[in-house]
Amino acid sequence: MDILILLLALFVLSLFLGVELITKVPPTLHTPLMSGTNAVSGITLVGALLAAGNDGSAMMVNVLGFIAVTLATINVVGGYLVTNRMLAMFKRK
């Protein structure tokens, strides 16, 4: 139970931090914020790697892992690239 309560604490504190941070993002950057958070949610790649690459798992688990790795990588690569492309366009006079 110890670990679980720590994870829960982390979750709750991260939610509060998220609210504080995100409310400070100006409306003009809301689209890059969405694509940027898409990239961040690609962190599931970490879990996907564990499922796809674990030698000795059943074939079906590896295949599910492969799908997860593919989808999460699209989010990571696509999300960061497109966010960078957009942000580079925002310029001052």
Binding site: I3, L4, L7, L10, S14, L15, L17, G18, V19, I22, T23, K24, V25, P26, P27, T28, L29, H30, T31, L33, M34, S35, G36, T37, N38, A39, V40, S41, G42, I43, T44, V46, G47, L49, G53, N54, D55, A58, M60, V61, N62, L64, G65, F66, A68, L71, A72, T73, I74, N75, V77, G78, Y80, V82, N84, M86, M89, F90, R92, K93
Partner: protein, 481 residues
């Protein structure tokens, strides 16, 4: 590797994500923030790979290669006008990744995997101790069930949102019974999750969770109209984050929890901003139709004989003498790909000595911040993009407002006519300006289906036609003056 060291490095990755989002609070620091966030991702992935005991690289490399190619092509090819579609797809993939991770974890812990599709439904002898000792096993199962459910509905819901934004699906379909039908589906899916938690060997129940949640995603989004998609994709953005955070609980992984909850709150806050900007509750956007008006407002009565139309060269003469001009863009500008033409018109107006700003309504376009990205693409400096609350007090001192492709967000009925379906929705008070120029194909109503009295006001000029063409003609005429 030492487990403590791994978790310490995950903490560093989490801090980099937080600094990354902090960077997004200012346009100046945003590019660097995005890089920091990407660095965090790299750190997390590398430490995960180093920490795995036995790795079969076949599936890992295949997945990373396919994902990188698809992701890069999407990111580099997508047009700025289609950014909502891209985000909708990425939301869906995020949900799909969480779904498949949770399923992989379920079958791993179960110890047996079905050899054929028929065997997917066969019960297996297992209890929650396979998923962790005592209550931990039960909680792990709840986390798996919820991840599967949220991941699956995010996947299909986002694909429908994509189809709607891409205009592949134009009609709205819904379950009979509307919210009641959806509620029954939610309950059925939760019951199936409960069955899995009570008896993890009940593999058929897990299949039921997947199927019910996939269908739920379809039914939730299919009835919602295109103009409400900003809310839907913001909400699905949040779901994809929540699914990732739940997956973090399954795997006991700290960085998944930090990243997932940041994404989850981001989506929720954007959802709230969109709802407030439409003066509608989330429930009303998801399940409701626009409220029926007390009395039907007759478009002919509003417009008859009162609408003044103008040619682009007449507008150019007005613009030549203006001191201050505000441009109000809407989704129509994106549809007409007119952002570059608009910027050129603004340059021409500034060359005649006037000040030009852009008034951006929070729900203009098909996603939060859509107009800002389009105008940034056309190299409009971001200081000139002014949000609703800051631009509204300035309209009284504005000589000419040019409305291009926006309708409902300028409708004064939202402010003045109590009992109108959009009453209370915050609008851009363009009618307070000395002259309003509206570029529009016809007098057809916007998403709310209402006539717009703005078009019939004495100081409003309607310029009919394609947005891009009209703007280009104005620019040409202005340059010749």
């Amino acid at each position: 590797m030492n487990e403590n060291l791994v978790n310490f490095i995950y903490l560093i990755a989490g801090v980099l994500f937080i600094l990354g989002i902090k960077g997004l609070t200012k346009p100046k620091t945003a590019v660097r923030g995005n890089m920091l966030s990407a660095l965090g991702m790299l750190v997390a992935v590398v430490v995960t790979l180093l920490n795995m005991n036995t790795i079969d690289y076949t599936y890992v490399i295949a997945g990373v290669v396919v994902g990188s190619v698809v992701g890069s092509i999407m990111a580099l090819r997508i047009q700025m006008t289609s950014m909502p579609q891209m985000v909708a797809l990425l939301n869906g993939f995020g949900g799909g990744a969480s779904l498949t991770i949770a399923l992989a974890e379920y079958y791993t812990k179960l110890g047996t995997t079905p050899a054929s599709f028929a065997e997917l439904l066969n019960p297996v002898v297992a209890d929650s101790s396979a998923f962790g000792p005592g209550p931990e096993g039960t909680i792990a199962l709840i986390a798996i069930g919820m991840t599967v459910m949220i991941g699956a509905l995010t996947l299909t819901g986002s694909l429908v949102a994509f189809a709607k934004l891409q205009e592949l699906m134009k009609k709205s379909y819904g379950l009979p019974g509307g919210p009641v039908g959806n509620a029954l589906f939610v309950i059925a899916a939760l019951v199936a999750v409960a069955l899995v938690v009570v008896n993890p060997g009940n593999a058929a129940a897990m299949v039921a969770v997947v199927v019910l949640a996939l269908l739920l995603g379809l039914f939730l989004v299919m009835p919602i109209g295109g103009a409400d998609m900003p809310v839907v994709i913001a909400l699905l953005n949040s779901y994809s984050g929540i699914a990732a955070a739940f997956a973090g609980f399954i795997l006991g992984n700290t960085v998944l929890i930090i990243a997932g909850s940041l994404v989850g709150t981001s989506g929720l806050i954007l959802t709230r901003i969109m709802c407030v900007a439409m003066n509608r509750s989330l429930a009303n956007v998801l399940f409701g139709k626009m409220a029926a008006s007390g009395e039907i407002i007759d478009a002919d009565e509003v417009y008859a004989g009162k609408v003044t139309s103008a040619q682009p060269d007449e507008v150019a003469m007005l613009l030549e003498n203006a001191q201050r001009v505000v441009i109000v863009p809407g989704y129509g500008m994106a549809m007409a790909q007119a952002q570059h033409a608009v910027r050129e018109l603004a340059d021409a107006i500034e060359a005649k000595g006037a000040e030009v700003q852009y008034g951006i309504h929070p729900v203009a376009g098909r996603m939060p911040g859509h107009m800002n990205v389009l105008l940034a693409e056309a190299e409009v400096p971001y200081d000139n993009l002014v949000e609703m609350d800051r631009i509204n007090p300035t309209f009284e001192d504005t000589d000419v407002v040019i409305v291009i492709g926006a309708n409902d967000v300028t409708n004064p009925m939202a402010r003045d006519v109590e009992g109108s379906p959009i009453y209370g929705m915050p609008i851009l008070n363009v009618d307070k300006a000395k002259t309003v120029v509206v570029i529009k194909r016809s007098l057809s109503p916007g998403f709310a289906g209402l006539p717009n009295p703005l078009f019939a006001m004495d100081h409003t000029l309607m310029v009919y036609g394609d947005g891009k063409k009209a703007v280009v003609e104005m620019t040409t005429a202005l340059n010749q003056l």
